[in-house]
Subunit: 115 residues, 2 copies
């Protein structure tokens, strides 16, 4: 855990969040600044700075996060109309919290380009 | 292979692509309609309709795709300034080819919301 990391503090229960899914490796909760009618964040419980910081040893974790994103989307009824999964890395990506997170956005038609 | 799938036909070598990375499970190539100075597509060689169609048996494949996206981004020098990884599912997601693909966009600052 990184004590100055807001997402680690959510994992630790020190900061509240609207949790949608919780397992041994991942947490899914609602974004506090939603950009779509449904906007979730999928994070690893272990601190990983971004998707660019995943190593080959993390292949299972990375897959778990992507699958958890889909499972959460389906559980909230997004699959029929569709949704988008996004992860930002660094400045050009627009990453605002240095703890890997997948955004899941649904409930409206998402435009192109994606930012 | 789905014979009516343009990405399966790229995997089969029937349609040319600017390939950046090629391994036993994944292919990375440049998007023909780039939305950023660098715009890559990361696809599984096996036909999977979207990220929503991945099952728990695909955890390793899903992780491999996410790691391959980062590796390709780093190999092209995107990591320093950052980049964005996006995958679209269905109509609301704006999915245009029904074969799972991760977009990797870099070389410019990407705005928010992501579409």
């Amino acid at each position: 855990m990184a004590h100055d990391c807001i997402f680690c503090r959510i994992v630790a229960g020190e900061i509240p969040a609207q949790v949608v899914h919780d397992d041994d490796r991942a947490l899914v909760f609602r974004d506090v600044n939603p950009q779509a009618p449904t906007h979730l964040l999928v994070i690893p419980k272990r601190h990983v700075a971004s998707a660019d910081h995943l190593t080959r040893e993390d292949e299972g974790l990375a897959g778990h996060l992507l699958l958890a994103a889909g499972e959460a989307a389906r559980s909230l009824g997004l699959a029929g109309d569709g949704y988008r999964i996004v992860t930002n890395i660094g400045r050009n990506g627009g990453q605002t919290v240095s703890h890997l997170h997948l955004h899941v956005l649904g409930g409206r038609s998402l435009g192109w380009p994606p930012g």
